[in-house]
């Protein structure tokens, strides 16, 4: 199988900040690679380098064999890019935005109109086609942005956090679009902050932190290392935290994560049956809990499991984990 995107030793520094600190990446043709990472991990920087928008300080990258620095034009004729922030022209209508891009890609006037109409139809924007993009909702804008990156029928598509800020319905729509593109043979590099999204779409997941690749593998491999679910307990009395921590460690074989501020203990588990065992053990010990649940692991827990340390960004948003 041939390789669509290959990056080796990419480095990009902004003063003291190492946005990229030696990144290797390989995306086989027709596959989806999910780049997972917290805020500031270097995801956008990597995408911008691979899309010829940014020169790396060191290292090199190729798209279908064309070097992104030495031969950007060849790369640009192969790629489509949906940036992290919608880059549609807000003053223009959906149709005008797409016609403009089609004309720049040398479609005839009629050809451009037809291409725009086809894409608007496909992204369910036909009803809003004549309206200025600034009147679009966040989800509609994202869809238009996605449509815009497909005007030239790219064989390699970069999607930088395509569903951040979207409601679950809009997110599902974007996922459906990505799946259809992949079915048509398009190679996709997708960045995300959601483990679930990477799990849903990607053939391989690459985890970034501080400009480095900290883990790589198929979603099921990573999940096995992380634990497929997380057991979460909040004892009624903070005095019981130590005891519960011991019970959890005993039960799961992993050291639980403890937050003294919220009084919450979490531990990765593979076997959901452990929940009933935990209930019995707590009962035996005479400990009551306010909260007792099984849920999917958060990005924070993914990082704890993969790197042994917590991500910077998630330390700050701790309060919102619930």
């Amino acid at each position: 199988m041939s390789v669509a995107i290959r990056a080796h030793g990419l480095v990009k520094h902004y003063g003291e900040t190492k946005a990229l600190d030696g990144v290797d990446l390989e995306v086989p043709e027709g596959k989806v690679v999910g780049v997972l990472g917290p805020n500031g991990a270097g995801k956008t920087t990597a995408v911008r380098v691979l899309a010829t928008l940014l020169r790396p300080d060191a290292g090199h990258a190729t798209v279908h064999g064309h070097d992104v620095v030495k031969n950007p034009r060849a790369v640009r004729s192969l790629i489509g890019l949906t940036g992290q922030y919608a880059s549609v022209d807000e003053d223009l209508s959906g149709t005008e935005n797409l016609v403009l891009l089609a004309r720049l890609l040398d479609h005839s006037r009629a050809g451009a109109r037809a291409r725009a109409a086809e894409l608007l139809e496909r992204f369910e924007l036909t009803d809003a086609a004549g309206r200025a993009a600034k009147t679009y909702s966040g989800g509609m804008r994202r869809r238009l942005d996605l449509a815009a990156s497909l005007v030239g029928n790219p064989s390699v598509l970069y999607l930088d956090e395509p569903t951040t800020g979207l409601d679950p319905h809009a997110r599902n729509e974007v996922w459906a679009v990505v799946r259809r593109l992949v079915a048509d043979g398009v190679t996709v590099l997708l960045t995300t902050q959601y483990l679930e999204e990477a799990d849903q779409l990607a053939d391989t997941i690459t985890v970034f932190d501080h400009g480095r690749v900290v883990a790589e593998g198929r979603p099921d491999e990573l999940k096995r290392r992380i634990g497929s679910q997380t057991l979460q307990v909040r004892p009624t009395s903070a005095r019981d935290l130590d005891a519960v921590q011991r019970i959890l460690a005993d039960l799961t074989g992993n050291a639980p994560m403890r937050n003294d501020d919220t009084g919450l203990l979490t531990a990765p588990v593979d076997d959901p049956v452990l929940l009933s065992t935990l209930v019995r053990k707590l009962d035996d010990a005479g400990i009551t809990a306010d909260e007792l649940a099984l849920r999917l692991p958060s990005l924070d827990e993914v990082f704890l499991a993969l790197t042994g340390k917590r991500s910077e960004a998630d330390k700050q948003t701790e309060g919102s984990v619930a």
């Binding site: 010829t52 034009r73 223009l92 891009l101 004309r103």
Partner: protein
């Protein structure tokens, strides 16, 4: 091969100019600074100070209109910097840059769209001036040459705006600098009053400033009078503006885009 590339480049530039014109049509209020503002100036100066400055308002209007035209074009040419900066900071240019088009196409498009602004600005001003009683004293050919010169002036000085627009971070900062630059250029000139009563240092500048010289040249073309001297002077200024700012602008643009 290279002519094909040139042809495609020109076509992409035109396509992006079409985008600029479309944006002007969608937001006509964007043109306020080159339509409403000069009209207010024209009305205010003519009826408030015209009598005192030139004996009667009609005589004052005759000298004022060519000057306000120049000032207006200069103002219009400065907005190119703000617009380009907005496009870059909003990420709209990222999409163009990731496409297989000439790197210069967005810049060419922006400048071409600006010519449309200049034409609108000249047309509106002449229309209002005519309603107020201004009359061209020469002929249609002279008037056309005058309008052409004004637009050429805008095209030469817009490179300064592109340079500043690509150098500064935000559109607001660009706007701020533009105002600081335009004030001495427009008010330190003979657009509103003759330079005879100005203090020596200001007069020394106002007599040779590009705005004064082109205003005089346009007065000659539209009202009759000396043309050659001021015209030569303004052409020197235009050539100098291009010689200095075109390389700076393209350098800053390449660095940013």
């Amino acid at each position: 091969m290279s002519t094909i590339a040139l042809d495609r480049g020109a076509r992409h530039g035109l396509t992006l100019a079409w985008r600029g014109v479309l944006k002007i049509r969608k937001n006509p209020e964007q043109l306020a600074d080159v339509t409403i503002a000069p009209i207010i100036l024209l009305v205010m100066f003519t009826y408030l100070f015209g009598g005192a400055l030139a004996g009667n308002t009609d005589a004052y209007l005759q000298t004022l209109v060519p000057g306000v035209l120049v000032m207006n074009i200069l103002q219009a040419s400065m907005t190119a910097g703000v617009q380009l900066n907005t496009d870059v900071s909003k990420g709209v240019f990222d999409r163009f840059r990731a496409m297989p088009i000439a790197r210069s196409a967005p810049l060419v498009g922006a400048v071409l769209a600006d010519v449309v602004r200049y034409v609108v600005c000249v047309a509106v001003l002449l229309l209002v001036a005519t309603v107020m009683g201004y009359r061209v004293q020469t002929g249609p050919v002279e008037l056309l040459v005058a309008c052409g010169l004004a637009i050429l002036f805008g095209l030469c000085f817009c490179w300064a705006a592109v340079f500043i627009g690509m150098l500064l971070k935000t559109p607001q900062a660009v706007q701020g600098i533009m105002i600081v630059l335009i004030m001495p250029l427009t008010f330190g000139s003979n657009v509103f009053v003759g330079t005879e009563t100005m203090p020596g240092w200001l007069r020394a500048w106002a007599d040779v400033s590009p705005v004064s010289l082109l205003s005089d040249a346009l007065r000659g073309l539209m009202n009759g009078g000396a043309i050659a001297g001021p015209l030569a002077g303004s052409l020197v200024w235009m050539a100098a503006a291009v010689a200095v700012f075109f390389p700076l602008a393209t350098w800053a643009y390449r660095k940013r885009v």
